[in-house]
């Protein structure tokens, strides 16, 4: 205080800066050390290897892990499969979420709207595992889905990639609905009215007015559904039958193979995919919709 008072200039400029620094230093430290630091540590670990026998980490520089990942076709297959599942989950979620979000934002009365927001958020209060195991039971041989399809001569999907996609789409649906709902709420009603006044059909208004305006919000939702699906290894273990996704490769290398360096190398794949994804969607303005 006394120092600041003796130097008027410091009082004018230095103190707000000091205050800002004080305010940001802890979160900043968290971001740099705990968040980026651990990413950097992971990337460094990816260039180490483990002792064949004891599993202890050998700290000598090698690119073996990456060349294994690139040269073994199995990892490409798993990577493509994971991207496919993540993309499918995103598309399914977008298709289900858009009508719901549109109804919430433009059709429902305020009280119904509030109730729907609560309903959309409610599943997030239940544990991930409870929901995944519920799907395991429903999709099983004697489950409710197989039972419901039997009268029309169909079988349930059984455990596999389809079941995984269904389960993940269910799990991440709220993360798609909410951004689209927020995006649609910002679309002025007057635009829709103007469109219909000018003679556009409902479909035409949807195509030419609503979808282009809601597009950044849909992409914003897709960031959640895509990245959450890409990193998921639990649902596929529960309802995926014998299939494995890329996150399982990482998990198996940590838990069963005890090969942290290889797991770290494998973990750079989803990181790279997400960085590319974010760069691509940056132009749509989706990042302003998060």
């Amino acid at each position: 205080m006394s120092v600041a008072a003796s130097r008027p200039r410091a009082k004018a400029i230095g103190r707000p800066r000091l205050r800002l620094l004080g305010l940001l230093s802890l979160p900043g430290l968290w971001l740099v050390v705990a968040y980026l630091g651990s990413l950097a540590a992971m990337f460094a670990t990816a260039f180490w290897t483990t002792d064949d026998f004891t599993g202890n980490i050998v700290r000598t520089f090698t690119t073996t892990n990456f060349s294994t990942l690139i040269h073994e076709s199995v990892y490409w297959h798993i990577a493509l499969r994971s991207l496919g599942v993540a993309a499918a989950v995103t598309v399914v979620d977008a298709c289900i979420a858009f009508p719901i979000a549109f109804y919430m934002a433009k059709v429902a009365r305020p009280r119904v709207r509030q109730a729907m927001v609560v309903l959309v958020l409610t599943p997030l209060w239940a544990s991930y595992l409870v929901k995944a195991y519920a799907w395991r039971v429903m999709l099983g041989d004697n489950g409710v889905i197989g039972w419901a399809l039997r009268p029309i001569g169909l079988h349930g999907p059984g455990y596999g990639l389809l079941a995984t996609t269904i389960t993940l789409a269910y799990l991440w649906l709220p993360y798609m609905i909410l951004p689209i709902y927020a995006g649609l709420e910002r679309v002025p009603d007057s635009l829709l009215e103007a469109s219909s006044d000018l003679g556009a059909s409902a479909g035409r208004t949807l195509r030419s007015i609503v979808l282009p305006l809601a597009y950044p919000a849909i992409v914003a939702g897709s960031i959640f559904t895509f990245s959450l699906s890409l990193g998921d290894y639990i649902a596929v273990k529960i309802v995926g039958g014998a299939s494995q996704l890329f996150a399982n490769v990482i998990y198996d290398n940590v838990i069963t193979a005890d090969n942290l360096p290889f797991a770290a190398a494998a973990a750079t794949f989803p990181v790279v995919v997400m960085v590319v994804y974010l760069v691509l969607v940056r132009r749509t303005g989706a990042l302003d919709n998060l």
């Binding site: 202890n56 700290r59 199995v74 090969n259």
Partner: protein
Amino acid sequence: MNRKRVLAVLAATSLFALVGCGSASGTGGSGPGGRATPPNEKMLTALGSGEGQVNVIAWAGYAEDGSDDPTVDWVHPFESQTGCKVNVKIANTSDEMVQLMHTGQYDVVSASGDATLRLVYGGDVAPVNTSLVPNYATIFSFLKDRAWNSVKVNGKTQMYGIPHGWGANLLMWNSKTVTPAPTSWGAVFDANSPYKGKVTAYDSPIYIADAALYLMKTQPALGIKDPYSLDQKQFDAAVALLKTQRTLVGEYWSDYTKEVQAFESGTSVIGTTWQVIANLIQGDKKADVEAIVPTEGSTGWSDTWMISSKSQHPNCAYMWMNWIVSPKVNAEVANWFGEAPAQELACQQPDMASVCQTYHAADQAYSNDIWYWTTPTTDCLDGRTNVKCVPYSQWTQAWTEIKG
């Protein structure tokens, strides 16, 4: 990176180089992979009073506290007798046990033969002073000083743990759906299996040995003598068999509760199992299952309680090791898990004679016929010196490939 760190990394690197040189020149050379002697970890010399708790890594069914079955509880009596609170972490695979022990946060582990030596040579476990474990004296002698639980140090055999029990991996099937009853492992490897999509297998690289054992008995031309000691050609044959099996498998299991649920819901009808899983399903009465050792014999486990070299609660850990092989408790574990007890006196407990008969507890010849989980190394375990064998790290890689 500052200078000190650089020096530390350099020192560490050169240390590893030194270890490498040591094994290359083969000094001593009695250990697997050409490793001479394990890291020198301190052994407890005298038992003090308990530290109030002990952190245990165990196979499912090894540390029961009455939560699975109120009558099956040997954790609470231990706690009230010793004052050591038991914190149990169930591990599903040997690899998981090794990985957990690396963290240094646990005191004791019920390690199988494919984990023990990795723990010993990794410096994760300390030698065990058997004189501090009174019940060790009456353990079946054919389980002492074995390759998977002891190491020769300076010409003297040093125990690295207390034998717990042993048994075979079984073939289990749903007796309503699977007819006729299978007698061979072929039932889970046959490409034309009528149970396609409902076969299950253990989700661990060590399961490759089960395929190797089947090939050992059915394709003598491959010349497999030991399912854990496979040269490249033999290994490729086993992997090919498992890739065929992959088309039959509905789901793999490593979590034992998942297999219980899969058999009870009809998702799986045939596959490899442990006796404890069969017991749980039979107890629930939701599905009828049978489990046998098929004609080809079986892989199996011989488990050893080992103590962490970084144990924070060594006294409680020793008390736990002594407790778990005491006649009454070892009998209870063996009965619950479905395995042969290591404790000779366990077989003299009430109603245990038949259990010991079922699992051939005192039958050394039978025990010799089981292929216990062992860590595959580059040096062939079956004594061949003209070829290199496929080490475990490649088994794990191949396992990812098999699952595809």
